[in-house]
Subunit: 222 residues, 2 copies
Amino acid sequence: MAQQPDTVTRILDTAEVLFAERGFAETSLRNITSKARVNLAAVNYHFGSKKSLIQAVFARYLDPFTVRFHAALDELEARHEGDDIPLEELLETMARSVLEVPAERHSLKVFMRLLGLAYSQAQGHLRRYIQEEYGSVFTRFTELVRRATPELPDAERFWRLHFMLGTVIFTLSGLDALRDIAEKDYGEHVSVRDLVRRLRPVVVAAMNAPLPEPLPAQREAG
Amino acid sequence: MAQQPDTVTRILDTAEVLFAERGFAETSLRNITSKARVNLAAVNYHFGSKKSLIQAVFARYLDPFTVRFHAALDELEARHEGDDIPLEELLETMARSVLEVPAERHSLKVFMRLLGLAYSQAQGHLRRYIQEEYGSVFTRFTELVRRATPELPDAERFWRLHFMLGTVIFTLSGLDALRDIAEKDYGEHVSVRDLVRRLRPVVVAAMNAPLPEPLPAQREAG
DNA sequence: TGTACATCAGTGAACGCGCGTTCACTGATGTAC
DNA sequence: TGTACATCAGTGAACGCGCGTTCACTGATGTAC
């Protein structure tokens, strides 16, 4: 019966945009509540604290993402009937799951900037929260990647996955600035779909790169 | 004759560490001046404002870096006598220049975290400052990369360079956290040298990846 | 050599401001008997 | 059907606090004549 979203939703909608634009410390509750046309005390009433509001903003993306990603992996595993799943399909499935959730809300950019901020927050109560709440689906994913790339040493796979995480988060979280430059210099407007298309061969090639030459003067004792 | 570094140096030394640990907004001048054992008003006396202090912290890394990088590129160009320089050598030279400056001060981690923060700061007065002050050396570098990879369309090269920038900054700026995980899970202690060794084949493979398939239903009018 | 003045690094205390949070309160709705 | 009470969303004003910055000042050193 509400003509406009309720207070909780208005706070979350406004907060995620402001957080993504300027960061967490630089966004005050007064910024959020005045833009959301909501009483200042409403944030503490509904969420308890600014910290909890930040986590709630993340949960609204990550909860549906983990559900979808688990479902997509279930389907992928069923389709391959216990065989190893090719790396390309795993990456494709992950990309699709990441894109689906914010696509519903026209806010992929916000989602990615939030992820970028979460990782660049130094002391990282946020990174810890994300790790605790959503770590299991990533553990499942990396295990499937392990089976898809048996030739890679575990440590090497770990580092390469994080290299690629860096590529994706850095690029998509700074997308607006990069897009402006690219558009000015090369006259091409870059959509997210286009960027994913460009990322695909790069990520695959990076994961399949030859192993690094071993460190020189490093020998086992004995 | 000074038994300890002067006030300006003590402020800069302390500020860069605290900024790297917790970010700019989360570090107050009181944090910095009390840890540096310096009067609170000294920051504004010597630097004018907190914003200028932040820029001074960056300048202390970026000024020597640009000097060294230009010199290294001079030498590389002289050695190749006008011929195109192979991509591997260009990347190697860049890596060496980045590593040399903070190596003198045992602070590569700080340097990288600062770069990561600069890029994740949303409104980016900092990114603008860095672009204005130090953009020319990167323009020179990308021009050399262009000659080394003539088969890549300009836009594709632009995006791949930024993909790799993301990999490097994300990895090195979050190095401590990643290193802890890697050490716990794989029992390997990872040095920066080791990480650069692992990055090399990945970056080269990424830059040399096959071109993406063209976007489907995208056709010129007429 | 002596005096007057200028310069400069540094200081201690205060300024006003915006911050996250709290608190007593209102008014609407639901529930018990 | 009526009354008493509980619950809950929301409010307006204030709280104390830490922030970046400013200001009048000190004391040491350098410079001019």
